[in-house]
Every structure is written in structure tokens, then in C-alpha cells.
Symmetry: C2
Subunit: 332 residues, 2 copies
């Protein structure tokens, strides 16, 4: 326990992110100060938001070139210099991509011990809670509604679609590739899936949603948001969760057509949210999610890669859409 | 009472609307069927929405070339073939631009007699109700909030700003031209006004709204919406009322930048509405508006032109922004 492997972001990319924007480095294991925890990372979460942080300030500070790449992880407490934590505790914290980190205890969230541990990053982590609150609180689906979700085979999308099914909705997923689409319909119970790489989304939506779309859970923005806008029903709700189509490159020159014209005519509501806004209700949501997982109503999709050195590759691949379900790195 | 002057839309414009897209014609006075009213138009309402109707189906059917131009008016009942109406009653109905019309009684709304009659189209008409519900129900301003309204010197904007002042907000109007801006601050009590023809709106907003924008009442869409988006505070609300920048020409190639990225990061809500959605609460709203007008808290701005033959000119001018307050035609 003397070497601390770290992945540094060497350059803030202006275009597409590549593995060459990172380098593996070695630092020392930090000594925690009062109020801090020394933790060892076990599972590092990969999220499209990691890329957005490189573009500048979002709901967190921007990530700077030359420093350890930021990222959340499930970590184990090695030494606690703060009340309420002990050696061996599991926490979720923004440790960054490294073996060891000293993190403020205030920003660390204690986790229950469970098997598999990976569920703490998927269905019981930010992905599951984002799906839960975004769909139910922002999208407000009613039984019989038609719900569309983009990035449907991703960590959030897989759970959004399954919760919408539990609520009695017709569910259409938009994903890239035939294999993902088949998984959505055959394995997760989606009513239909649209392969945006193989067919025009607008036309496919008119076929898959003949009664129009009541709720759209938007993970991607861009052209797909535009296509869905034209298919929305009056009084439809759009839960704006992310804009992954716009993170990996220069800022887009324009937004989707139909804003605000269609928003007015159809009396749509578009609402952005982040999961931290619902922090006081996370426990209740986790209880409900657990019930659905235990009863088999939610199948958990995870995409686990191994080795800290593979974290850049894992993120670059995620942005290209090569993951199915929640992607994470198991640190050796 | 034998000739019925009518303004026909001769062509659905693909670019800018011009007076040459209309022609004055003469028809006969129609005979009302059972369930209809024969009415004589007194005051014709001019609205940016008139232009939107020419683009295709909105919340009403598209307007077709070759027919009498559609439009709402305050009219007087000449003959009633429906229960509940009598000769001499005043109604608001979609009569179109003509002297006489036979309209279904079901679509006619009985109006109180009042002086000036014009208030029935401005503060006590669709404009006032749109301002009331859009600001209070969609924008949800709290005392101390910063509220921005575009097309601020128009029929809706003048009332939005004054209601926001009543609610204890800091109010910034965006309008075209120094005279309108001066009217907003000197006469209507706006805290600031931005002349979008004279200065970049984004920069002016940063100066006028140093604490950021909590509520934006959007009448225009386009570049101004984009500029305001970048100045919104977290959890801000955008009431999408219209997109007048996009009605008078071809459909815009793109929407505003920042959609959906800024909506997510700032957790904004954008919501479209039309005043008919609140029909069951119009009476209560009218009561409150009347109280504010009678106590001088709302000053009513009207822009009344005379002569049916001038209706095309009145609409073309409205789309160019040459009106102050509610524009209408007094039919001779």
C-alpha cells in the first residue's frame, strides 16, 4: 500500500474524447486530514456526465487538465478521521480515477453492504434514482400513456423503461444497434425498440406510437429530441435528464427545431432535473426499487470492466454507446 | 344591410406576410341557420397567432387561401337562432375579417357591456387572460424574483410586466425601439427595458439582471429565448406563450442553443400554454384583473385603428412590431 495508481486527464478535449487524453501515473497514498476519510476505490462509475464536466462548470466544478480525472466510486474506508465512519465501511464518494483517495467525510455517503456490490452503482445508485425520480416526478406517467426513452439500453434507460412498464405504460426505447433493441424487447419487456442507427427516428416513432407520445425521458438531446418533439401529444412531458449527443465535441451550433413553437401549440412541459434535487427522498425510492428488483419486475443490466488502467477506454466506449446497462470499472 | 365587406386571404405566404396577400371583397350578408347567430363585427382583434394559423394547424385548423381571413372579434348579435342569445347582445366569436358573419352559438362567448368596449379585447380579453395565467400559473413568480418578458410593449407583455410588479418582482421588458422602452419604464413601472434592436440582449440582461433570471415569459422564441436561457437561474421557469419571431417566414432551421443542455444543468422548466386551457377559471381571473385596472395598478395600453379595409395593414404592422399594446380594428 505505497503506490497509488492514478489516471490523469492530460488535456481538455475540444472534439471527441480519446484514450490519448489520459495518462496512467503513480502518486503516493494520501494521508487523510481531520474530517477526511482515506478510501480505496473498488468500483468506479462511468457516466456520460463525466464528459460534460470537461466542458466546463455544470452542477459541479469543471474538471481541469493535469489533475486526476473526477468520478464517483464505491470505495472502502481504510482510515477514518471523521465521526460516524469506521475502517471497512463502504462509501460512495467522488474519489476520482485512482486506487486511493482522501475525501471529505461530508461528501461521502455511507452504503449498505450487499451482494452484488455493483448494484450500488446501478439500480441502487445514481442511475436507478435518476430513472426513478426523472420518470415518476418529472415525466408523471399515467397508466395507458406512451413513454419513450432514449439511450434506452444504458444505465438509466433500462430502468426507466421497466418502471414505466410497472406503471402500465406502453414503452418505446430508442437505442443504437439491433442487439440492444432485441434486448430491450425480449429481455426487459419494452413494447418496441427503435434502432436510431438503422432507421429515421421520426418515422419509426409514428409507427411505434400511433397514439402519440405522452412522456419522453430524454438522455440525449439533439436530433432525437427534435424527432420526438414532433410526435408528442398535447400536454406531454419531457424529462430532460441529459444531452449525451452534445457532450463529446464542440458545443452544438443550434438546438432542436420546434422550440418553442411546438412547446406552445402542444402545451408541452420540458423540465430538467438532477437526482441530488431529490436527496431527501432517496431512501423511500431505494425501498421501492429494491422491492421491484427482488420481485423480478426490474432486471438489472450491468457492464463491468476490470482494471483501473481501462477506465479511459471504458468512458470513451460509453460515449460511443458500446455499453449495455450500467458501465463500471472493477479496480483490481 | 345588404353588402358584407370581407377580407380574403388570397395566398398562404411562404415568406413575410404583406398586404398583397389579402384582398377586399364583397359578399352577401349570411342567413343564420338553427343554432347560429348573425353578428355584426365591431372590433376585430389582431394577434401574432393570426400569422401562425397560416402556417398550418395549430390549436385551431389552418387558415386556407381563398377564404375570409380568420380572426376573433367583439360583435353584436343582429339575429339569434339559438337559445340564450338575443338581438343586441355582445359576443366574442371567430367571425373572421368581415362586416357580418353567421357563427355557431356554441362558439360564441357572451360579453358584458362596458365602456370602453375595447377593454374586452385587451385586458379583459385573451391578452389579459394570457398574461394572467401564463405568468401566475406557468411562471409562478415569487416576490423578489427577477421576471423578464419579451414583446414587452405588446398586448400581453404590457400586462405581464404590470402583474409581475404587483407580485413584488423586479421586471425587465425586452422590446424594439427606444420609445417603447421608455414607455415601459416611465409609464408602466418596469424596472428596466432592453431595446433588442439597439443592443445585444444577452449582455444587456447580465447588466439589468445581475442576480439572474427566475421567470421568463416568452412571446418571441428564437435568438431572444436563447439569450435569456443563458441568464436563467437554477430552477427557473419559462412560460412559452408564443414564438412571434418564427411566424412570419419559413419555418426556422434550428431551435435555440442551450436546449436541452442548460435545461438539465439549471433544472429549468419550459412550459407551453394557451389561455383556453384555463377556461374554467377565466371569471375569477377577470375579477382580479378588474380590481387591478380600477385601482390603477394596471394601465391598459391599446392601439386602435379604424376601418375594415385596414385590417391587413394592421396585422402586417403588428408582425413588424409597430404596435404598442393591444392592436385592434374598429369596424366602421
Amino acid at each position: 500500500m505505497t503506490v497509488n495508481r492514478q489516471i490523469l486527464l492530460t488535456e481538455n478535449p475540444s472534439g471527441k474524447l480519446a484514450e490519448s487524453h489520459f495518462k496512467l501515473s503513480e502518486g503516493t497514498v494520501p494521508t487523510p486530514k481531520d474530517g477526511e476519510l482515506l478510501v480505496r476505490t473498488r468500483l468506479i462509475s462511468l457516466d456520460a456526465a463525466n464528459r460534460a464536466w470537461m466542458q466546463g462548470a455544470t452542477y459541479r466544478a469543471a474538471v481541469d487538465a493535469g489533475t486526476v480525472m473526477a468520478g464517483g466510486s464505491v470505495s472502502e474506508v481504510m482510515e477514518a478521521k471523521a465521526p460516524g465512519f469506521a475502517k471497512g465501511d463502504l462509501v460512495f464518494a467522488d474519489t476520482g480515477w485512482q486506487d486511493y483517495a482522501a475525501v471529505p467525510a461530508k461528501g461521502a455517503q455511507k452504503l449498505p453492504k450487499m451482494e452484488p456490490l455493483s448494484h450500488l452503482l446501478s439500480v441502487y445508485g445514481i442511475a436507478g434514482l435518476t430513472a426513478y425520480f426523472g420518470l415518476l416526478e418529472v415525466g408523471k406517467p399515467k397508466a395507458g400513456d406512451t413513454v419513450v426513452v432514449s439511450a434506452a439500453a444504458g444505465s438509466v434507460g433500462t430502468i426507466v423503461g421497466q418502471i414505466a412498464k410497472i406503471k402500465g405504460c406502453t414503452v418505446i426505447g430508442i437505442a443504437g444497434g439491433a442487439a440492444k433493441c432485441k434486448m430491450l424487447t425480449d429481455e426487459l419487456g419494452f413494447d418496441a425498440a427503435i434502432d436510431y442507427k438503422a432507421e429515421p427516428v421520426g418515422k419509426a416513432l409514428r409507427k411505434a406510437a400511433p397514439k402519440g407520445i405522452d412522456v419522453y425521458f430524454d438522455n440525449v438531446g439533439g436530433d432525437i429530441l427534435e424527432a420526438v418533439l414532433f410526435g408528442m401529444n398535447n400536454f406531454g412531458r419531457i424529462a430532460c435528464c441529459g444531452a449525451v449527443s452534445q457532450y463529446d465535441g464542440a458545443a452544438p451550433a443550434h438546438g432542436p427545431r420546434g422550440i418553442p413553437g411546438l412547446v406552445v401549440v402542444k402545451r408541452l412541459t420540458m423540465q430538467g432535473f438532477i437526482v441530488m434535487d431529490y436527496a431527501d427522498r432517496h431512501d423511500a425510492a431505494l425501498n421501492e426499487l429494491q422491492g421491484w428488483v427482488n420481485s423480478g419486475k426490474i432486471k438489472v443490466k450491468e457492464d463491468i470492466m476490470t482494471g483501473l488502467e481501462n477506465t479511459p477506454k471504458a468512458l470513451v466506449g460509453l460515449l460511443a454507446g458500446d455499453n449495455v446497462g450500467k458501465r463500471m470499472i472493477k479496480v483490481d
